[in-house]
């Protein structure tokens, strides 16, 4: 695995930020996930909370850090461990999306401005397999990498006051799913009945960083059917184990 030069920065009284070079890449993601695994395997003297994004890990301690430089040395030593017990299994999830204009409120606008027919937009969106980099912004919101350049589209200058739960959207070079009703500035191209965040479940979100997502175009009839099976807990999201 590629080695990156890392920077360690104190971040407030309780946290240390570990930073990778400022690039978005699958190699950085793999390096971040490996370091995270090493941190999770290590028995810290106190409870710690580990969060991560494209090129950073934030480790927060339950109480004030006594000596930040000692703690950074400990973190570096943890990272230098070569053998890692990593039991993570990564999956590709197939997410049904209805791209009918009833849901895809901004499809026509993208079609006009990018000079691309709507079926081509749907084809571009469904033929890419997206990597999940991390979760943030809203509970259950996945940051996905790999959107086709043909359908990059700038965020709206004035956000919508309300975007429906399940809206599938494009913001600049990113695509994502609104896991709950929220205000938002991304352009909506469809809707999925799949729930990305459910507080009633022990694991509220099925997807995790390192997993992959593929969108599958479905009709309104199928969409409604899936929505009603989800309501009665009879729907299992199609998935397969991946090994890269």
């Amino acid at each position: 695995m590629k080695k990156f030069k890392l920077q360690y920065k104190p971040f407030g009284e309780h946290s240390i930020l570990i930073e990778w070079p400022q690039i978005i890449s699958e190699n950085v993601l793999k390096s971040v996930l490996l370091y995270k695994q090493k941190l999770e395997n290590f028995e810290f003297k106190q409870k710690v909370y580990i969060k991560f994004a494209y090129n950073s890990i934030l480790i927060s301690y339950n109480s004030t850090i006594n000596n930040i430089y000692d703690e950074i040395l400990t973190l570096k030593a943890i990272n230098s461990i070569d053998e890692v017990i990593d039991k993570s299994v990564f999956k590709m999830w197939k997410i049904p999306v209805c791209y009918d204009l009833e849901f895809g409120l901004d499809l026509e606008k993208i079609s006009n401005k990018n000079n691309i027919e709507i079926p081509e937009i749907i084809h571009a969106h469904t033929s890419t397999i997206y990597r999940v980099y991390f979760l943030g912004f809203l509970p259950g919101f996945l940051y996905l990498g790999g959107l086709d350049k043909k359908i990059h589209f700038p965020r709206k200058s004035t956000p919508r006051m309300q975007i429906e739960k399940g809206a599938v959207a494009i913001g600049g070079s990113q695509t994502g799913i609104y896991p709950n009703e929220s205000p938002g500035g991304w352009n909506i191209i469809g809707s999925t009945p799949i729930e990305f965040f459910n507080v009633q479940k022990e694991n509220p979100c099925f997807a995790k960083a390192g997993d992959k997502i593929q969108f599958i175009s479905v009709s309104k009839v199928d969409y409604d059917q899936i929505a009603s099976s989800i309501a009665t807990h009879d729907y299992i999201i199609e998935s397969e184990v991946i090994d890269d």
Binding site: P10, F52, A53, I68, L138, P139, G140, V199
Partner: protein
């Protein structure tokens, strides 16, 4: 049980927050002035993670249907039991049928009401802190009933633990350097640490925006992690101090990081209040 006769301006149930689910994008939440909330529990003899009510500016009207002990800390919002004025930071015995209400705010912005044993609302993702899309309600509403334990009066009128409310008058916000502090030039630093800033009307549990601008041409960062107390500098020059309900990630440069005590202090400020940043070495 207590009954909400009037919810006040913005009253929520809060505890220490939801630390275990941030990797799923779940905000931390918890009492904005964590110190005041913890002290309320400590003086009552509660566990530190007992849920309290966070009362913002205009207090609610609450009816107790059982005997218990309560305390109000944080902002002085002129609390009353029935028609009797009661003091902050002092243990109060309430009887069945008593009504707690509040008057004209005197000092500070957020008060905390603790009851013996804590408010027994539903625990979701290891916390009772209210947050839209996580808990069923995001604030108290008229007619709500919240479960509390019945407790006999404590005879001991004075707790060994004392709370001092003088911090409410302070206006110095102590900060550490944030991860992108080094991107700022001398002119920006000079402005940050030598001028006063005013709390704008955009202030809530997610973030406090400040009125005075700090012009900059700092580039955004690749979406990275933020914390309550992180100060972001937008391209427009706005300083945004993230608070307890903030998102877990953000893309603006993180120029400063508030100390915990300063998050508590800022939580007590309202629109128009002046603050000054003071840099501390870590």
């Amino acid at each position: 049980m207590i009954k909400v006769l009037h919810p006040g301006f913005y009253t929520t149930i809060q505890d220490l927050g939801r630390k275990d689910f941030q990797h799923l994008g779940v905000p931390m939440s918890g009492a904005m002035d964590m110190h005041a909330a913890k002290m309320a529990n400590a003086i009552l003899g509660n566990d530190t993670d007992c849920a309290v009510l966070e009362i913002t500016m205009v207090g609610p009207k609450l009816e107790f249907n059982c005997e218990t002990n309560i305390i109000v800390t944080g902002a002085n919002l002129a609390p009353k039991i029935n028609t009797t004025i009661v003091k902050n930071n002092t243990l109060i015995n309430v009887n069945k049928g008593d009504i707690l209400s509040f008057g004209t705010p005197i000092n500070g912005f957020r008060a905390y009401l603790a009851v013996t044993g804590g408010f027994q609302s539903e625990i979701i993702l290891n916390s009772r802190s209210m947050y839209q899309s996580i808990t069923k309600a995001s604030k108290l509403n008229k007619g709500d009933e919240i479960k509390i334990h019945t407790k006999s009066h404590i005879s001991k009128k004075y707790s060994a633990i004392k709370m001092d409310s003088n911090y409410l008058n302070d206006h110095v916000i102590s900060v550490f350097k944030g991860p992108e502090f080094h991107l700022m030039n001398n002119e920006q630093l000079n402005k940050l640490f030598n001028q006063e800033f005013t709390v704008s009307k955009e202030n809530n549990r997610m973030a406090y925006q400040l009125q005075e601008l700090v012009t900059n041409n700092l580039k955004g960062i690749i979406t990275s992690l933020v914390l309550p107390g992180t100060v972001q500098l937008t391209p427009f020059g706005k300083l945004m101090v993230l608070m307890r309900d903030c998102q877990t990630t953000g893309g603006y440069p993180r120029v400063l990081q508030l100390l915990e005590a300063s998050i508590n202090l800022l939580s007590q400020k309202r629109v128009g209040d002046k603050i000054k940043f003071k840099l501390k070495a870590l």
